[in-house]
Symmetry: C2
Subunit: 228 residues, 2 copies
């Protein structure tokens, strides 16, 4: 394995370990020592990538948004729905998503700026809704920034509720109900009628994305290509 | 002041002190000692009402729902909207509401069942929506339990976002946007056209309710009646 490739893997392993500690302990109670133990790494390896607990947390929050990339769709709003369903599904088991969700929700710490997560998700949704607008998919009355912030804020609460009540087992279904209540106020009728809001879509898309990532990694390995 | 009346006031003072400590410190870091100091009370007075920190927290969560009672309206959905706007407004300054909100959101503690708050708010919303259904105000397609849970979960997230970004200064406005996006999928058109979703309504209703409570208290004092 090339040196750069190894560094990328080490960084990801540290982030996953940190995210799982944040998920279980919260930011305040999480310690670098526990992250090291879980990742099976030395202090030197961790500090090469991250200078502090705060930097670890911020990196987990950044990684969360990068991880959610779904297949392009003819209808941009479908891509938006799909991103939400994949995120909802991964919040059940993906350590990065779970850790980031807890960091984004906690009121506790003064050291960590909780706004980061909300602002980066809002940018993500604004980008999608603006493209949907360019394609004529959403109603003229919609103020993209307002709707985007509503989606981000409401989603944070729904995932919290789902976590408390069912350890997020029903989060995809809650998201479907949310889309059913809000998209009729956002999408033009002809688009609304073509959207697939199924709660099962999260699991299906995740499986397809994982399969594709695996195939790409194998192709890269065969060609001797270093992942970047 | 009659003994019973004094006990009620003491209990309320303790709850307000506890709620403000929970709001600032979170459940795990809150201590009985700090609650006592803030309330200016002795241990004996507190333990007469509450056996433990957990009981204090549960009492704050119960008090939160009891505190939100708005004037009856011809349109039940207006009463529902009004309750939301009053709650959103009070989350800025009312210690009980602020403390309860943090308790409801925190993932931290194993000792406190976060579900309690969500379940009692859900019951509150289900009651309102069922009455709205009886009056013919909501669409046949609506499943009351689903919509109620959506409102409770999404509201929790919106208040969290508003708190992180503006210390809840824009929460009433965020709630208006939420109602604008969801009520068209819930209310029958003739009712939808008559709803007042103004963000300023929270402050106005709160002032009216406070004025009425004050007038009642004065009338009771004049008549020598003990509040119950």
């Amino acid at each position: 394995m090339a040196q750069q490739d190894r560094a990328i893997r080490t960084r990801r392993l540290i982030l996953e370990a940190a995210a799982s500690v944040f998920d279980e302990q919260g930011y305040d109670r999480a310690t670098i020592a526990e992250v090291l133990e879980r990742a099976g790494m030395t202090k030197g390896a961790l500090y090469f990538h991250f200078a502090s607990k705060e930097q670890l947390a911020l990196a987990v929050l950044e990684e969360q948004v990068l991880d959610i990339a779904v297949e392009p769709q003819k209808i941009k709003l479908q891509e938006f729905v799909d991103s939400g369903q994949v995120l909802a599904f991964r919040l059940r088991s993906d350590p990065i998503q779970r850790g980031a969700a807890r960091l984004a929700v906690e009121q506790g710490s003064n050291h960590l700026d909780r706004k980061q997560s909300m602002l980066s998700w809002t940018r993500f949704v604004v980008g999608m809704l603006n493209e949907a607008r360019d394609r004529g998919e959403i109603l003229d009355s919609i103020v993209v920034q307002e709707s985007a912030e509503l989606f981000v804020g409401a989603f944070a609460g729904l995932q919290m509720m789902s976590q408390a009540l069912t350890n997020r087992a029903d989060l995809n279904r809650r998201l479907t109900i949310f889309f059913q209540h809000t998209l009729p106020s956002i999408a033009v009728p002809a688009i609304l009628a073509r959207l697939n809001l199924d709660a099962e879509r999260g699991a299906q898309l995740d499986a397809a994305l994982q399969g594709k990532a695996l195939a790409n990694a194998e192709a890269d390995a065969d060609a001797g290509v270093v992942a970047d």
